[in-house]
């Protein structure tokens, strides 16, 4: 297996691993936050505007951890610095 093949395989594998593990935690957290907020709204319907505003903010903040993992996966697949370096090295040696 060439260097490029190893880099590509490990990058793709790690990207999938990053997104899958990075999605577990925020998914659990968001589900828990939404369930708690729904329970709070059911108990106090008057405070629903405040609760839903806070819920949206906290959902986005929880979700940002998943987004970080997504960004890392996208960098690994589409903008991998090691891949470009290896391609440049291969071209330098090949020509």
């Amino acid at each position: 297996m060439t260097d490029l093949g190893i880099i590509a395989a490990i990058s793709i594998f790690t990207a999938g691993l990053t997104v899958s593990f990075g999605a577990i935690g925020p998914a659990l957290g968001e589900g828990r936050a939404a369930a708690t907020a729904l329970g709070a709204i059911a108990q106090q319907p008057d405070a629903s505007s405040t609760i839903s505003r806070t819920l949206f903010v906290s959902l986005a903040m929880i979700e940002s951890t998943a987004i970080y993992c997504f960004v890392v996966a996208m960098i690994l697949i589409f903008a991998n610095p090691f891949w470009t370096a290896a391609v440049a090295a291969a071209q330098a040696t090949g020509s």
Partner: protein, 231 residues
């Protein structure tokens, strides 16, 4: 596939390449500025408000109400700052419906610039309301040991602001592009609608977080130093 609109060069001015990020940032800024200038050009008290002016008033008062719910103390300058952030981010995310428009917030440079402006604005607002010593004292707030952690949190909050906005908008664009090559007719539309919702929420969150950071730096001395009032 492009991860950011930085790489697409639209045209060159005197040899300087103008990429899509800069171009569409200027488009958004021009749209906001020209629209509000045209609406508020003939602002007089005796003329009944037109529908455009009423629209602007609804937007500004909505932002003002949201800020007043979050921040305590005077909110006028906060309204200028956070309202501008919100309008810029929301407009650049909502113009996604225009074909060919690439949101400038899908580029890490734009969001980093916005987050840097928040990072600079927090000490500025803090110093103007508490004075230099009073603001620097907030870094030692619970005790002296917390000084490095306070400084670290200042930077990590800026980084997370930038990456959160960039990641959300960029992921919408990337997912739409991927779906466009897989199921080209219906699903990209659904994802774009979801992208509009996400963009609006992210703009709201960016502005609200900036408001929270600034108002925690400018918290009025009455609430932060209660021991002076008790004796």
């Amino acid at each position: 596939m492009n991860l950011s609109p930085d790489q697409t060069v639209i045209f060159e001015v005197w040899g300087i390449p103008v990429n899509a990020t800069i171009f569409y940032t200027w488009v958004v800024m021009a749209l906001l500025t020209v629209t509000s200038y045209l609406i508020t050009r003939r602002l007089r008290a005796d003329v009944p408000p037109s529908r455009w002016r009423t629209t602007l008033e609804v937007i500004v008062q909505g932002i003002q109400g949201q800020i007043q719910e979050v921040a305590q103390g005077p909110t006028r300058y906060l309204l200028y700052y956070a309202g501008t952030l919100f309008l810029f981010v929301a407009m650049s995310n909502l113009l996604l419906v225009v074909p060919g428009f690439e949101p400038p917030t899908a580029s890490l440079s734009t969001t980093t610039a916005l987050a840097l402006s928040v990072l600079v604005a927090v000490p500025l607002f803090g110093i103007t309301s508490r004075g230099l010593g009073g603001y620097l004292k907030t870094y030692l707030e619970p005790s002296f040991i917390m000084l490095p952690f306070n400084i670290i949190s200042e930077f990590s909050r800026g980084i997370s602001l930038a990456i959160r906005l960039y990641g959300n908008i960029m992921s919408g664009a990337v997912i739409a592009a991927i779906l466009l090559s897989v199921a080209p007719f219906f699903f990209p539309v659904v994802m774009d609608v979801l992208g509009l919702l996400t963009g609006m929420i992210q703009a709201y969150i960016f502005a609200i977080l900036a408001t929270v950071y600034i108002s925690s730096a400018t918290a009025s001395p009455d609430t932060s130093q209660p021991e002076k009032e008790t004796p």
